[in-house]
């Protein structure tokens, strides 16, 4: 069972190895130029960047991330449901359909609340 995942492990090793080797080759082969003060500054279209604290995240990005986590969990629940769906319908009837529908309807109340509160309005 677990042996099925051995090829995936090997694939990970190949991918990580490729990325590392390419970067190391680049450091070895790339021609190093002179370091100057201007070259070291961040590129902001020729305007001298203002030093200061890290720019801040808008709270809207946090909100979207939180809503994403909530609804993504719902998606995760749906995969096993989808896989067994047809067999279950054939043997036991419609119960599996109604149970998932009621689960999603409960979540949709939350979604409607988020929409009503304007959590997804970017213009404001």
């Amino acid at each position: 069972m677990l042996i099925d995942f051995l090829p995936i492990l090997l694939h990970v090793v190949v991918a990580v190895g490729f990325a590392t080797v390419v970067l190391v080759l680049n450091i070895a082969l790339g021609r190093a130029g002179k370091r100057t003060k201007i070259k070291d500054t961040a590129y902001e279209c020729g305007v001298i960047p203002e030093p200061g604290p890290q720019p801040r995240f808008s709270v809207k990005f946090y909100l979207v991330a939180m809503l994403f986590i909530l609804f993504d969990i719902e998606v995760v629940f749906m995969y096993p449901w989808a896989v067994v769906y047809r067999d279950y319908i054939a043997q036991h009837g419609m119960l599996i359909f109604w149970s998932m529908l009621s689960f999603v309807i409960i979540l949709l109340f939350g979604y409607a609340y988020a929409v009503k509160k304007g959590a997804l309005e970017w213009g404001r």
Binding site: P7, V14, N26, G33, E44, Y79, V83, F97
Partner: protein
């Protein structure tokens, strides 16, 4: 125990065959595809804008003393570009957060390559009793692996934006992350109808199902229809198989499948940051977006990651909706003869049909990549609030409703 007997032990056989398959798929197929896509992007863009595009770089025969270079339509560009990027200075500005700045390009590129591990590039090939699937890992969680790994690509982009300590990359990074997570919902929900019908998450089995029942975008393949029926003129049998193929149930299921396909395709455009959803690197407002501060190979890894993600995404679309490696009338790896040529053994015929299946798969990927490029040079870009609105208000709900429509059809009408 001698060496060949040791090599045929199940675990060890799996290990060395999968090493070969991994190396061939990563270095022999995907990296050339990426290189070719970058070239094709420039060439297609040039044709759309009525220009010629890159046409100079070919074989540099002047080095050998010839009068002229051989141009080869500029195809040398796909080798010249990586070499140029490899030889550039790897410059790390002083103002960046060094550790995260260094690992971010890798984090953007590696997930795109990892997705390829579960894509079926070809059918199962039989060497006598031994079955070798033409894919790296034939696991039952196929599509879960695709979603789990492809969403890790966000880390590379958001870290690159944050670690650069500069305003344009920062804006690009946060825009990209919120866009990608918004469209991932639609991406994940839109394919569930496929699994409702097929009843498995294994990518190879999904392709085999489509081979027997028709591609997901048009599931009408006549049941039991074969080339022999056509050659023998057995019209009664042909009629019966067509009648079994075109049933009301299949027509009903066709509508949600088309919705599913279109939502998945558009969400894939957003997931790979392509036009019309390329806000993270909108050149006109954000310079280069999250990779503004990167040079040489750091930049190249982002670039490579984007195109590899495009190739892998096309592969997922082809596998789930467009029949994968299957094409009507083409036998799969279980065939024992190759056009009846007598001196080809059974395993040779199986391998040849496997390679033909692989070619079909790559041709379908090429068609999808052409669509990606075509859209990029045809459509304008969305505004940011329009983009988020489209994802959260329209695609999310459409995909969710689509699941229950499919489930109802499957429950009420015998498929």
């Amino acid at each position: 125990m001698n060496l060949s007997a040791l090599a045929m032990q199940p675990e060890i056989f799996l290990a060395w065959t999968s090493i070969i398959k991994t190396l061939v798929i990563v270095f022999g197929i995907v990296l050339p595809i990426v290189s070719l896509t970058v070239f094709a992007e420039r060439k297609v863009c040039a044709f759309i804008q009525d220009r010629v595009g890159p046409n100079r770089v070919g074989l540099p025969t002047t080095i050998l003393g010839f009068k002229k270079d051989i141009r080869l339509l500029g195809l040398g560009q796909m080798i010249a570009d990586p070499i140029k990027l490899l030889l550039k200075e790897n410059f790390i500005p002083n103002s960046v957060n060094k550790f995260y700045y260094y690992i971010a390009p890798k984090l953007a590129m590696i997930p795109a390559l990892l997705v390829l591990a579960v894509l079926p590039f070809g059918p199962n090939v039989f060497f006598g009793d031994i079955k070798v699937p033409l894919m790296v890992a034939n696991v039952d969680i196929g599509i879960l692996w695709v979603f789990a790994i492809s969403s890790l690509g966000v880390y590379g982009i958001v870290l690159a934006g944050w670690a650069s300590n500069s305003k344009y990359p920062f804006l690009g990074g946060i825009r990209s992350s919120s866009q990608m997570i918004s469209y991932e919902l639609a991406l994940g929900l839109s394919v569930i109808p496929v699994f409702l019908i097929v009843g498995t998450l294994n990518m190879q089995e999904i392709v085999v199902w489509q081979r027997e029942n028709g591609w997901m975008v048009a599931p009408f393949w006549p049941k039991g229809f074969s080339l022999e029926q056509l050659l023998h003129g057995d019209f009664a049998a042909i009629g019966a198989s067509f009648a079994a193929g075109f049933s009301v149930q299949r027509l009903l299921i066709w509508v949600p499948m088309l919705i599913s396909f279109i939502v998945f395709l558009i969400a894939m455009f957003a997931e790979t940051n392509r036009v019309p959803f390329d806000l993270p690197e909108a050149e006109q407002e954000l310079v280069g977006g999250y990779h503004t501060e990167y040079s040489s190979m750091g930049f190249a890894l982002f670039f490579l990651g984007e195109y590899a993600a495009m190739a892998a995404g096309s592969g997922v679309i082809v596998t789930l909706f467009l029949g994968g490696w299957s094409l009507p009338f083409i036998p799969d790896g279980s065939a024992t003869s190759f056009f009846g040529i007598p001196f080809i053994p059974a395993w040779g015929a199986s391998l040849l049909w496997g390679l033909i299946g692989m070619t079909i798969f790559l041709a379908k990927i090429a068609a999808m990549l052409f669509l990606f490029i075509w859209v990029r040079w045809t459509l304008p870009r969305f505004r940011y609030d329009q983009l988020m609105k489209l994802g959260w208000y329209f695609f999310f709900e459409l995909a969710l409703v689509n699941i229950f429509i499919t489930a109802l059809i499957l429950a009420l009408v015998k498929f």
